[in-house]
Amino acid sequence: MSGPRPSPAARGGRRIVVALPYAWLLLFFLAPFAIIVAISLSETRIGIPPYTPILEWVEGAGLSVNAKLGNYAFLADDPLYLNALLSSLRIAATSAILCLLVGYPIAYALARTPDRWRPQLLIAVILPLWTSFLIRVYAWMGLLKTEGPVNELLQATGLIDQPLALLHTPFAVYVGIVYSYLPFMILPLFAALERQDPALLEAAHDLGARPVRAFLTVTLPLSLPGIFAGLLLVFIPAVGEFVIPDLLGGPETLMLGKVLWIEFFNNRDWPLAASVAVAMLVLLVAPLAWLENIRVKRAEGGA
């Protein structure tokens, strides 16, 4: 990637090209994280802004730091927050696995689709992402209602006599997450499956492996990077999901995203909301780093 040595003017131009987006992202993406950590250490108060200042200039004493760990102690003490954290992790992990079970056969079938149809079918997987997320979650409110079509269908087939309460249950949250994030699962799986060398399966076949065994020992292990990428792409945003548990979930589907929302908008406790956000970030550092690692490896391997 090294061209001719750039002239001083070109170097100046390059600096501007880097500096503009760099400065923007430092100010509006990175700095906010420092501030959220700082405010999570302050205390709530009535006023504008509704939290005590962290750094204060005290006459005669100079700069005083008022950082308190009270919010974190409160989070650790109250079982509500621990429950929300555990149930967020459980719901996000379960939906990621459900998404994999639904998405893998689809991605596999797509990878085996003849070239003539593949581009159209792939676009059709991505297309729902272009329609409103909120509207797609809302669609399930109508479908899962007690007098909605899903219940009617189940009653018509004789599986149930009385309509089931589907909306505002954990089931509805799982359906919502799997439905909304399915394309994020299918795409990395497809990418991993599609580039597998057909000669490998032929070799397995020639050596006497049955299709199931060949799949389990060749195709599945080779698609592991796609599986991990897909699981993380569903798990990470699902941990902080707010809209789906709010519209489709009930009181027992407490998730961190919703707790943060309630602390901020309903209880107006900004510092506590900030400490929930910091806790969520700490939780997500490892999966985020793992995802970045997969991405870098793929970029190096694919280039």
Partner: protein, 269 residues
């Protein structure tokens, strides 16, 4: 991977697409239902479209959202293109790792964190330097442009990486300055991906509920905020009508984009 579909795989594909598109289709069907119960069919009617057109609050919010989406997508394309250029073309530079991280992290960062952290930034900035003065359209535009940059730069990086550099090198050899080469050679070649990135940033801005809820102020309710507060009260046929209109617009854009691409491909042949 070997090509070829068995009947089972065809069944998998069909049920997969039914799952992906069934709920969307149900929105459209029930938008023409005269019953207020939405999912209990009571005859064909277009009355909810009429009521939608008289819903001032919703129309105002729609106008505001379209404006915000337009400005933030444009900002995102300008900054996202620069970011992609720096990441693909400049090799190593100081702070590159952090820069690359900041351009991809917004893609997966939970929205509640992004929203709350940006709000706290705006409040702290207002205390320190008096800007931004309160929260509203400006703060929503900044927030949306920030995650838009990430999407645009991903799309633009992919295109830049596969570009044939010999054309740009030829222009440089012929004495064109780098800035001129960028505008006359590079930009036209990456324009389709920038258009795609703009559309993506526009759509995401139009759709964002969580971040906008945190950084908006009184009097600046965006369309998703109005839709959400109505959906929280239960299903409402007006939302179905709105959803249908939004879906038709997306479908129209996709058909148009497909037509443009195929026309370009036809010309190239």
């Amino acid at each position: 991977m070997k090509r070829g579909l068995t009947p089972i795989l065809i069944a998998v594909l069909i049920s997969g697409y039914v799952f992906l598109y069934g709920p969307i289709a149900s929105l459209v069907v029930y938008s023409f239902n005269s019953s207020k119960l939405v999912t209990v069919w009571a005859g064909f009617s277009t009355k909810w479209y009429g009521e939608l057109m008289r819903n001032e609050k919703l129309l105002d919010a729609a106008g505001l959202s379209l404006g915000i989406a337009f400005v933030s997508a444009t900002l995102a394309v300008a900054l996202g293109t620069l970011a992609a250029l720096a990441l693909v073309r400049f090799g190593r530079f100081r702070g590159r790792l952090l820069f690359a991280g900041m351009t991809t992290a917004p893609l997966v960062m939970p929205e509640v964190i992004t929203g709350l952290s940006l709000l706290l930034l705006f409040v702290s900035m207002e205390q320190l330097i008096g800007w931004p003065d309160g929260r509203g359209v400006v703060t929503i535009v900044i927030a949306h442009a920030t995650f838009g940059i990430a999407y645009v730069s991903v799309v633009a990086q992919a295109r830049l990486a596969q570009l044939d550099r010999s054309i740009e090198e030829a222009a440089l050899d012929l004495g064109a300055r780098p800035v001129r080469v960028f505008f006359t050679v590079t930009l036209p070649m990456i324009a389709p991906s920038l258009a795609a990135g703009w559309l993506l940033a526009f759509t995401l801005s139009l759709d964002d509920l969580v971040i906008a809820s945190f950084v908006s102020g009184p009097g600046s309710s965006t369309l998703p905020m109005v839709v959400f507060s109505s959906a929280r009260l239960g299903v409402n046929p007006q939302i179905n009508a709105l959803a249908t209109i939004l879906l038709l617009s997306v479908a129209a854009i996709v058909v148009l984009a497909g037509w443009l691409v195929s026309r370009r491909a036809g010309k190239a042949r």
